[in-house]
């Protein structure tokens, strides 16, 4: 499991990073989304991987790490997802505004040679 998930995180990161370096704003926004998936999974993985041990207690119960996955990274990821969503929205609107003002969807607001 660990191996597969790490590979997945790596692939998401690589794709995201590659897109971050691209000249089109749309590429960057997709890249940021991919990167945020990667980061969220990374955070999640820091609590170690557990199958079928959701941190949900029996009513009145007391949980422990032997039977429940670490809830903290999950809570952190939730926050990160929300913030990531907000930032994607923001970046998108800014790139629209930039395109509106400059007429191009290049990240620098004007076409560069060889992009």
């Amino acid at each position: 499991m660990e191996l597969i998930l790490s590979a997945g995180i790596g692939a998401l990161t690589a794709s995201g990073v590659y897109l971050l370096l691209r000249p089109r704003t749309y590429q960057v926004v997709i890249g940021l989304s991919l990167l945020s998936y990667a980061v969220n999974l990374f955070i999640f993985g820091m609590g170690r991987l557990r199958v079928n041990a959701p941190p949900i207690l029996e009513p009145g119960g007391v949980g422990d790490l032997a039977h429940h996955a670490d809830p903290i990274p999950q809570a952190l990821v939730l926050t990160a997802i929300v913030i990531g969503f907000a930032m994607t929205a923001l970046f998108l609107v800014v790139l629209l505004a930039s395109r509106g003002f400059t007429g191009t969807d290049h990240v620098d607001g004007r076409e560069q040679r060889g992009d």
């Binding site: 499991m1 191996l3 998930l5 590979a7 997945g8 995180i9 790596g10 692939a11 998401l12 990161t13 690589a14 794709s15 990073v17 971050l20 370096l21 691209r22 749309y26 590429q27 989304s33 990667a38 969220n40 999974l41 990374f42 999640f44 993985g45 820091m46 170690r48 991987l49 557990r50 199958v51 949900i56 009513p59 949980g63 422990d64 790490l65 429940h68 996955a69 809830p71 809570a75 952190l76 990821v77 939730l78 926050t79 997802i81 929300v82 913030i83 990531g84 907000a86 930032m87 994607t88 929205a89 923001l90 998108l92 629209l96 395109r99 509106g100 007429g103 990240v107 620098d108 060889g114």
Partner: protein, 968 residues
């Protein structure tokens, strides 16, 4: 008593600013009164100081660091104070008549008083750092004074150069003084003066010396930093008389004299100071000969005389020090009077150019006489004060101080410089006051007002009196000053006019006669009117300085800024990624990172297959994002879905729910944005891609692979390590008993770490506001202004067929789907309610509910369009957001009533009749706030973008209408 010397001038300066600009006389009276008060105070202190006492005043400033406002007046400081205040009074009187009615007089006197205060501060400082403070203040104020007539380009350039040079020196001096403080352990002058041996023997001595000298030599315009002074002559003449002869330029030599007891006497001192002094002495004098501007001549002469003083101080002998101090006073006297005289000439004739001036004696005989006497003092003619100190200089020059070439040539250089001094003094007198009567002068020359001449008269009288009766007049004061510097090393000296026929006398004679001869030899050359000395004319320090400054501070700076910086995004991203990779890799390498063993066993094939899909989606999305945006978006959705499944698989149902919902909203969001992006061009053939681009893509690919590999490694390493003892157990144990919920993640979100959630919803609201505000200003590019091609075709079709109404196409398209979509609204709301209510115990919660509800709204917008929905539903996302945030905060604050910190949850399970046991955690209320805010923010963002489709065409039409109207 001592603070008066600071309070009076600085306070006076503050008051002077507020004088009305037409009150020339009153302002002058005021400034004069201040200067006079200071002078009288100085005079009054003489008996105390003369008795060998040191007057001290101490006020703490930054005591921890040894910086105090510690003032200290000994004989030497007294002498300088007297000079500064006395000449100050005279300059005020002079300036009263010199300045025109149009000049901003209050500003002049305000600055003048500030300057006087700063200068007094330098000489009275008992703390090295305080001295540096006043030192730089004089630079700043002198900058403003030189630039007084700032409409004049020369004044601006001169001011800038003066500030740059002296400011630079001041910064170096500061470091030097800090180092002295380090060596001595204190910045107090008393302590420093007592630590001469420690300083001279410290390994930091040479750095200290160099830094201090850099400060002193720049300030005193010593070679090779002399060139700023002539350009400072663009200042009004009172400023030149005061700053550039009597006081400010003396600050450098003052400091050398002040530190003389602790720093002089070493070989390094001798060489560094001596070389600068001698070079300045002779070069200044030589340059002075060839000036055409009266003030230029005087400026170079000043440089030369300061060189003389520096040379004297370099010698390291007590007698030389006495001579130096004596010459400081003498020079101040005659040079100030000469500047004032030059100013009178300028004021009354309208020019300072010696090529135009001549024969003025008959028009202004008194001024001429005064100027001649002062010039004679400058030339070192006997019975005048300049002669006495020059004789002492000659006497010291022939002494042997250290056996080296510099010491050997000193007498010769001194004689030659003396000769030059005679030449330029003679030239000044002869060319201005004698010869044919002047023609074409801007003004008809005449004597100045009575009181404008008075300061000159006074100073010239002083030259005479001191020159004839030195022992009776200056003697005691000089002795007090000398004794305070030299202490027990004070030598025996006599201030007699006549010491008999000795070598210095012969040197003086040679200089006098040689100077006169030289002048007559050079008359024909000087008559050509060429500005500047032969040979050196081409080597203009100022020009070089300017060029170096421009090159360094402008051309180089700009190219470096462009070379080391960039304004493009991609290189910045590249750097960020490279640095992040490096930062992440270095600690791993430093610790000898070893790859943990690969665990292949136990891999679930379905999960593996799932991630094969996920990876393919990610990579595919990256590859398609440029030319197939929709495909990239779909693939992104695929990657998100795999992420969602992973969360389920690995025991995070809450994350899965949230991820899924966010995924959906993000897709809609990006699609909404896609409408405003330019049409994508066709993908070029592989061969058509330039090498450069290919290389860049390869580089980025490698970097991306490295980043991905790094993340894989890190993730794998951590995940295969046993977990360390984590704070999570605490939460698991208490989630139900103290947090009142079984869904630990939700309890963390609304209780244990509710503050994170509060911040998170704040982020959401900020972004929503930003998006909203930005979109109000949205101006679409022309090509995306009109409706998309599909709509145009469909509208044209509707319009082209008589049996169809406008909008039939879309109506038919959505006819049946929207029937279903409308029914889905209450369903989505029900689902949201369900997610919300169960959140505390099972996956769900305010956030998920909010997003789900907003999807319900979006669905309606998609089915019916903006107007359709807004005609039916009241949508107030801003209000929802506001209420949500307020509810969340208020819930947290509620716990204050019970004496608990913010966000303390009150969890109880209340039993409500019929309904049964319900959780009543205040956290639920908090979650309600979250719900409201998330709903508001999400709807606001999406709807704000969607509104552009309605708004832009309208604005477009309005613009077109306006244009048409304008054309008519």
């Amino acid at each position: 008593m001592l603070p008066v010397f600071l309070f009076a001038p600085f306070g006076g300066s503050l008051i002077a600013i507020f004088f009305p600009s037409d009150q020339r006389g009153a302002t002058a009276w005021f400034a004069g009164a201040i200067a006079l008060v200071c002078f009288l105070a100085t005079a009054g202190l003489y008996p105390f100081v003369a008795a060998g006492n040191v007057l001290r005043y101490q006020l703490e400033w930054v005591p921890q660091l040894g910086l105090s406002v510690s003032l200290r007046m000994d004989g030497f400081a007294w002498l300088f104070s007297a000079l500064i205040t006395a000449i100050g009074v005279l300059v005020v009187l002079y300036a009263r008549y010199y300045l025109n009615a149009e000049d901003p007089v209050p500003r002049f006197f305000a600055l003048f008083l500030s300057f006087m205060g700063s200068m007094l501060g330098i000489v009275l400082s008992g703390n090295l750092i305080l001295l540096a403070v006043f030192w730089e203040l004089t630079s700043i104020v002198s900058f403003l004074l030189i630039g007084y007539w700032h409409h004049n380009a020369h004044a601006r350039d001169g001011a800038r150069m003066a500030l740059t040079m002296t400011g630079m020196g001041g910064l170096a001096l500061l470091v030097g003084l800090l180092l002295i403080g380090r060596v001595v352990g204190s910045y107090e002058l008393d302590a420093v003066l007592a630590s001469g041996d420690a300083i001279r023997n410290d390994s930091l001595y040479v750095p200290i010396l160099v830094l201090v000298l850099f400060g002193a030599l720049t300030k005193s315009a010593q070679f090779p930093f002399h060139f700023w002074l002539p350009h400072a002559m663009a200042a009004p003449t009172p400023v030149s008389a005061y700053l550039h002869s009597a006081t400010m330029v003396k600050a450098g030599v003052f400091l050398l004299a002040r530190l003389w007891p602790v720093m002089a006497g070493t070989e390094a001192w001798f060489w560094l100071v001596g070389l600068a002094g001698l070079a300045t002495l002779v070069l200044g004098a030589y340059f002075a000969i060839f000036q055409q501007d009266l003030k230029g001549l005087l400026a170079y002469s000043t440089i030369s005389h300061l060189g003389l003083i520096t040379t004297l101080l370099s010698l390291g002998s007590p007698l030389a020090a006495v001579a130096a101090i004596f010459h400081i006073v003498n020079h101040a006297t005659f040079k100030a009077s000469l500047f004032m005289a030059a100013g009178i000439i300028d004021h009354e004739t309208g020019t300072r150019d010696m090529r135009r001036l001549s024969g003025l004696f008959q028009y202004m005989p008194i001024t001429a006489t005064l100027a001649m006497v002062a010039s004679a003092a400058m030339a070192g003619v006997p019975l005048l004060n300049g002669f006495l100190s020059k004789e002492m200089f000659f006497a010291e020059a022939i002494e042997t101080h250290l056996v080296n070439i510099l010491d050997t040539i000193t007498p010769y250089v001194a004689t030659i410089a003396g000769m030059f001094a005679v030449t330029y003094s003679l030239r000044f007198i002869h060319s201005v006051f004698y010869g044919v009567p002047p023609s074409d002068l801007p003004k008809k020359p005449h004597e100045p007002p009575r009181w404008m001449r008075a300061p000159v008269e006074f100073l010239v009288l002083a030259c005479l009196v001191v020159g004839i009766l030195p022992g009776r007049t200056i003697g005691p004061f000089l002795h007090t000053a000398v004794a305070s510097i030299l202490g027990d090393r004070t030598p025996h000296y006599s201030l007699a006019v006549w010491h008999g026929w000795n070598v210095p006398m012969i040197m003086s004679f040679v200089a006098l006669s040689g100077g006169v001869g030289l002048y007559f030899l050079m008359r024909s050359y000087l008559a050509t009117g060429i500005e500047g000395p032969p040979v050196f004319r081409l080597l203009k320090g100022q020009r070089i300085f300017e060029r170096v400054l421009v090159t360094l501070s402008w051309k180089w700076a700009r190219s470096i800024e462009q070379g080391l910086g960039t304004r493009r995004l991609q290189p910045q991203m590249l750097l960020l990624i490279i640095l992040a990779l490096t930062a992440g890799a270095l600690p791993l390498l430093a610790h000898g990172f070893e790859l943990p063993p690969l665990v292949i066993r136990g891999i679930d094939p379905a999960f593996a297959l799932l991630w094969t899909i996920g990876i393919a989606c990610a990579v595919g999305s990256a590859l398609q994002a440029k030319f197939h945006r929709l495909a990239a978006l779909v693939l992104l959705g695929g990657a998100g879905l795999v992420t969602c499944l992973t969360f389920v698989w690995l025991s995070a149902p809450d994350l899965a729910v949230t991820q899924l919902l966010v995924e959906i909203v993000t897709t809609v969001l990006i699609l909404l944005g896609l409408r405003w992006l330019p049409k994508r061009i066709k993908e070029p053939e592989r061969e058509d891609i330039p090498m450069r681009t290919r290389f860049r893509r390869l580089r980025d690919f490698l970097l991306a692979a490295l980043a991905g590999g790094g993340m894989t490694l890190l993730a794998y390493t951590v995940m295969t390590q046993p977990a360390s003892e984590t704070i999570a157990s605490y939460f698991l144990e208490r989630a139900y008993s103290e947090g009142g919920g079984t869904n630990v993640v939700n309890v963390i979100l609304v209780d244990f770490r509710g503050f994170d959630t509060l911040g998170e919803i704040a982020v959401l609201s900020i972004v929503a506001l930003t998006v909203f505000a930005l979109l109000l200003r949205f101006r679409p590019q022309a090509d995306s202004l009109e409706a998309p091609e599909q709509q145009r075709l469909q509208n044209a079709f509707d319009a082209g067929h008589p049996d169809r109404a406008a909008g039939d196409s879309i109506a038919e398209y959505l006819h049946i789907p929207s029937a279903i979509m409308r029914w889905m609204f209450p369903v989505t709301a029900m689902l949201a309610a369900y997610l919300f209510l169960r959140g505390h115990d099972l996956p769900g919660g305010g956030f998920a509910a909010g997003i789900a509800m907003s999807i319900g709204f979006i669905l309606q917008y998609m089915s019916g369009g903006t107007r359709w929905v807004e005609e039916r539903l009241r949508i107030h996302p801003l209000r929802w957001m506001s209420i949500g945030l307020l509810v969340a905060v208020a819930t947290g604050v509620g716990s204050w009533l019970f004496g608990y910190p913010f966000l303390t949850s009150h969890s109880q399970h209340a039993t409500v009749p019929v309904i049964g046991k319900v959780p009543l955690a205040s956290a639920i209320l908090f979650d309600l706030g979250v719900f409201s805010l998330v709903l508001g923010a999400t709807v606001l963002m999406l709807i704000a973008i969607a509104h552009q489709s309605v708004r832009a065409p309208r604005a477009h039409a309005r613009g077109a209408r306006a244009e048409k109207e304008a054309a008519q």
